[in-house]
């Protein structure tokens, strides 16, 4: 069976077929046999060409976290942009002109008002999480079109905070 993953910014396809006690893996021109055993819900062991790997993995909705050789990878289904989906009022906004909360947290201070002119890297909003203040900066020189957040508000990751517009 073929599987496609969005990994490290690229969509990659891999084929896996059972052959006796092992699996034949097909990755483009690369074909090899892998002896894969599941040892617990979250742990596999894989032997390929005499090399042994311990792999841990966990699925969280449409996100698969895989850890091996001291590194973690996050795999997503193809065709889904990493930002996820938009809701309600946020629909139809130009992605390059919206500023989103990079993590869940609490809005501490809004430094700009609608109609303000802002410079690139100017602080727009300060969001606090885990006791650290994070300054959310403007990605462009432009104008503040709309502010979606209020001071004191708890925001989720990816929540749109400010919409900007280019100067005419």
């Amino acid at each position: 069976m073929d599987f496609e993953h969005l990994i490290e910014g690229q969509v990659r396809r891999i084929g896996l077929e059972k052959k006796g006690a092992t699996y034949v893996v097909r990755d483009g021109d690369v074909v090899f046999e892998a002896d894969i055993r599941r040892i617990s819900e979250h742990e596999l062991m894989i032997i390929v060409g005499g090399r042994s790997y311990a792999v841990s993995l966990a699925r969280d909705g449409d996100r698969m976290c895989v850890f091996l050789e001291g590194r973690e990878f996050v795999l997503r289904p193809p065709g889904e942009d990493a930002g996820g989906f938009h809701r309600g009022e946020e629909k139809g906004l130009d992605e390059s002109l919206v500023v989103k909360a990079p993590m869940p947290g609490k809005v501490i201070k809004i430094e700009v008002a609608e109609g303000d002119e802002v410079r690139k890297n100017q602080t727009l909003i300060i969001v606090e999480a885990m006791k650290m203040e994070n300054e959310i900066k403007s990605p462009i020189d432009g104008l503040v079109k709309k502010v979606f957040a209020k001071a004191g508000e708890l925001v989720d990751s990816e929540k749109i905070l400010v919409e900007l517009e280019l100067k005419k």
Binding site: R59, F73, A129
Partner: protein
């Protein structure tokens, strides 16, 4: 000795203290906010008391609630851990008034060293070298501006009540001063409940070297040598070690004697740490006293063989300190890495959320002081520290390699952590050479892009993910008594509902 101790903290340090209590035959009472009902420290404690909503000011910083919890459970003493109320003299005084032993320094010593400005004055008087800075807390911006000019830029804004990088801002020139003061005050207020800040001369690329001190209630005081904590990010220590590669025996004993002098001048008792900056010419300056158990206390425990939490409890109970300076020595080398819930690839933004899978490293000389478990959701409300990984080995180089190997074995799935970043830090040639300074991270790790990519490992990760899906589907279809089948097709198979045929 106490029969019951309340631990006014959470996370890994609360767990550490619960363990010490258990070994000493003392019952441990945990307190928890609504966000921490399922936290590890609550699980491990003998008793647990809910103390309020998630925001720390309404729970872990609420003195009345905590005192009430101690009275309700009959706890004779309170261990404050670090952060929260640990260095709050009002709280120490309240404990004294309520007949509860505060496991830490007496309230007047705490007040003195907790007021960084007064502490500097006292130390200057005691002949301890200090960094040029403000001698009082001004009220107006104009006074701050004048002081900054006197001291000379660059200056650093510091929270009068705190440590741990909270409220700190470096100011390179005049026009940055006002926003830095504002931000510093807000952070100080939210972290310590006190917004006063002051200015100090900023020494470029110093080493941060601190000395652990123990003092019993009768004034018998010893130091347990240094910890080097130069590897910092946003003024927050991330890697600590002992012995410091920068000290020789002569400088070590000179600094150690100074540390003891600092504590005696402050009338200090219980465990505390004297922080120094060490400049490039090996001059050292008194920075501040951390009047608490430090995050990085385990490295000292591993090289001196002294259990610091146990010593704190013994001294708080009025027992004499039985350690003598000339019988203390450092054996081998220890390194600690702090594991934070932060994403090193996105400006170290906090990464709260559910831990889907956790496996902590084990092995000879490996210690993991952890406050988390697999399946737990890390709340957004508190400091992002998850755990500390500490290793011991005969030499610094062996300890460094042991740390790199242990970090490789540290698996936290579901949230982002600093583990991969730390591995690159301990493997950096300058770290290996022991050439450390507080500028190490900005100098060598600005714009860190993650670990090197390896096509073969990437392929195996994809293989494992594919296998998991295939295996999952097989197990579902071969189950003899299939329950209501989840019609969830794998989003990754090319024949799944998400993508047909791989067009």
């Amino acid at each position: 000795m106490f029969k019951k101790i309340l631990i006014a903290n959470r996370g890994e340090i609360a767990v550490r203290i619960v363990r010490a209590c258990r070994e000493m035959g003392i019952a441990a009472v945990a307190v928890y906010s609504d966000a921490d009902r399922a936290a590890l420290h609550v699980q491990l404690a003998d008793e647990a008391v809910a103390i309020g909503p998630a925001p720390a000011v309404e729970s872990y910083l609420d003195m009345e609630r905590i005192i009430r919890a101690a009275h309700e459970t009959g706890a004779e003493a309170i261990h404050p851990g670090y952060g929260f109320l640990a260095e709050n003299a009002d709280f120490a005084r309240l404990c004294e008034k309520e007949g509860i032993v505060f496991i830490g320094p007496n309230s007047s010593a705490l007040e003195l060293v907790g007021d960084k400005v007064r502490a500097r004055q006292a130390m200057e008087k005691a002949g301890v070298p200090i960094i040029p800075g403000m001698k009082s807390i001004p009220n107006t911006v104009a006074e701050f501006k004048a002081a900054a000019c006197d001291i000379g830029y660059p200056v650093i804004v510091k929270a009068s009540a705190g440590g741990g990088g909270k409220g700190m801002r470096i100011v390179a020139e005049d026009k940055e001063l006002v926003p830095a003061l504002e931000a510093g005050r807000r952070e100080a207020k939210s972290a310590f409940g006190d917004e006063s800040v002051y200015l100090e001369k900023y020494i470029e690329e110093p080493r941060h070297v601190e000395f652990q001190v123990l003092a019993d209630n009768k004034g018998h005081t010893v130091h347990l040598f240094e910890r080097e904590c130069s590897i910092q990010r946003r003024h927050q220590k991330i890697v600590e070690e002992t012995p410091s590669p920068a000290l020789d025996d002569k400088l070590r004993s000179k600094m150690g004697e100074t540390a003891v002098r600092v504590m005696k001048a402050a009338g200090y008792n219980n465990a505390g740490t004297v922080e120094f900056l060490l400049d490039k010419d090996r001059n050292f300056y008194f920075l501040e006293v951390n009047a608490r158990l430090q995050v990085e206390h385990p490295v000292t425990e591993l090289v001196t063989g002294v259990d610091l939490v146990r010593q704190q409890i013994l001294m708080a109970a009025g027992e004499p300190l039985t350690l003598e300076q000339n019988a203390l020595f450092q054996r081998g080398h220890a390194i600690e890495c702090r594991i934070y819930a932060e994403d090193p690839l996105i400006r170290f933004l906090p990464s709260a959320g559910k831990i889907l899978f956790l496996r902590e490293p084990r092995g000879p000389g490996v210690r993991c002081d952890s406050g988390i478990y697999g399946g737990w959701s890390v709340p957004i409300d508190y400091d992002p520290i998850l755990a500390k990984l500490i290793v011991w080995a005969e030499t610094r180089e062996l300890a460094r390699r042991r740390m790199a190997a242990a970090l490789d074995d540290y698996i936290v799935l579901g949230i982002r952590t600093t583990i991969g970043f730390l591995k690159d830090v301990v493997q950096h040639p300058e770290f290996k050479a022991g050439r450390l300074s507080t500028a190490f991270i900005p100098k060598h790790f600005e714009g860190w892009q993650g670990m090197a990519k390896d096509e073969e490992i990437l392929r195996l990760a994809r293989t494992a993910a594919a296998f998991a899906e295939l295996d999952h589907a097989e197990r579902e279809s071969s189950a003899p008594f299939r329950g209501p089948r989840k019609s969830e097709a794998s989003p990754w198979t090319t024949s799944g509902r998400w993508r047909i045929g791989g067009a």
